[in-house]
Symmetry: C2
Subunit: 333 residues, 2 copies
Amino acid sequence: MNMPKNFSIKGVGKYLPKNCLESHEIEAELGLPSQWYAQRVGVETRYRVTDETCTQMGVEALREALSDAQMEISDLDGIIAASATFDYVIPNRSTLIKEAFFEAETLDFPCFDINTVCTSFITALDYASTLLQGEEYQNIAIVSSEIASHGLSSNRPETYGLFGDAAAAVIVSKSSTGENLRYMQKTYSEGVRSTIIRGGGNAYHPKNNPYEMDLYSFDMAGTHLLRIVNKYIYDYMDRFFEKTSTHLSEVDWIVPHQTSLFGMNLLTKINRGKSDNIINQLSVYGNCVAASIPLTLVNSIKEGVIKEGDRCLLLGTAAGVSICGLLLNYSKS
Amino acid sequence: MNMPKNFSIKGVGKYLPKNCLESHEIEAELGLPSQWYAQRVGVETRYRVTDETCTQMGVEALREALSDAQMEISDLDGIIAASATFDYVIPNRSTLIKEAFFEAETLDFPCFDINTVCTSFITALDYASTLLQGEEYQNIAIVSSEIASHGLSSNRPETYGLFGDAAAAVIVSKSSTGENLRYMQKTYSEGVRSTIIRGGGNAYHPKNNPYEMDLYSFDMAGTHLLRIVNKYIYDYMDRFFEKTSTHLSEVDWIVPHQTSLFGMNLLTKINRGKSDNIINQLSVYGNCVAASIPLTLVNSIKEGVIKEGDRCLLLGTAAGVSICGLLLNYSKS
């Protein structure tokens, strides 16, 4: 039997780069017609780093989450970094975030990284809520910090304006009120290379592959991806909900990955034409890779949109191709 | 209370690149005296890829593990990739491994990546053994596949000859016999940049940082790291064993990360001068990052060194700096 996975969200925080890039600026740069991004991509503004790193952004988001939770870094029992992009190949993201807190010098809680690309936060939240059922963890920080903008090619106007940089942090704690009601990830293999950054790893190592913008940038076959997701998502939703006592119509809020305009439209279709409980922040931030889902969650909690006891469905698609969802009963206490 | 985490290791597999590089070849290349690597680094041979990728090596190791388990890929309920190096920035490692099995096209089990650098396999094994207690997982593959050799600088002779490439895979299954008796990871923050590959991520992105061997290669402050580990390891071991009914002297086999000659010597000291139950394969394979621990485990199981019912302590240090250990009661059934 699966055990109940209770947890509360004690604190939330975010960081956005100081530089906010408006669509008309990119349209001017690329010689695109006015409103091209609003109409085709669904993004009006996105934030882009100037000199910030993933670590710095993650630390700022975590500081805000700690303050919201009225906690110190010493109250944490672990940090999970849940992101696709990173500052260094080695060491991993979470250890760098911890180390940046000078107060953490004498702390020895574990740090680990989880990566399911855009749905990393959901996978990490499931893992954290499992860990909280044991004796060793009271409070775990999950931090998603992404810099997508270094890997964008102006030869691909859609992705060039679609992605944004951001960080979000959530502190999850032992509790008897909130609950992880259901988690399911499915990886379909079809279209595994439909979202790819080819250069930078061992397949096209910088040693033998000098920087070329297209090789080192997001390459996303949007229409193909959408076709794959469309093929599997209905079956996914059925299987997700058949193991819960909740019906999709009883979900208070859908907190989705902010994939793209077409992705958001598909979500409305899946939600039987209903869009008013789908939290859509695509136009403001763009697609922030793994930071999109927690950023949307953090904003909705901060703004009081998501309230105590609300059932929230975190749902996203990821390169791979995966679909990943987690249904939670929100509680701060 | 922490619940028991039973699991068995149904199958093990490995892949080594075809190219075996002997120390005298590197000594000749760098103009070092004969026996320099044997005496200073403790490595006689290490394997290096020619055209293999992390994915290909991981797939070969997993095929061998499936065959050992008398399973097909369709018997798996999940793949966890547990590595520091990777083929692509996006998508993640595990989805690429799954997709490479053409039989996997119709399978939709989840794939995720865990990264605690050199101890990724231990962290993944703890996670997998937790997942196996629920209803959804019967068999999980953990695959560690590392190509360190693209990131080595001939200006740093020690690391240049220390690291090797390898992949190892382990299939863990629901069982009532074997058990994860204790897992503990501690991250100390001191020396977070003492093992680093600076280039390739967002801190020194290829876009603004053309390839330079030293920037894009392992930089390891060995002596400094050893000092940090030496400072914390005794307390770590006490805290690890105080929560088990096993004493260090009752451990049948220590399966360590094959860090370095000095790391292995420190381990003997921790083990109270006893080295005959420490499985030392450093001289044959070098340090294979996260693949070292599972490769050592896989070989020891294959060779019949580790036997049914043996208590094995997987133990390693990782960039960050972390110390990570897992005590298991080995069972194949």
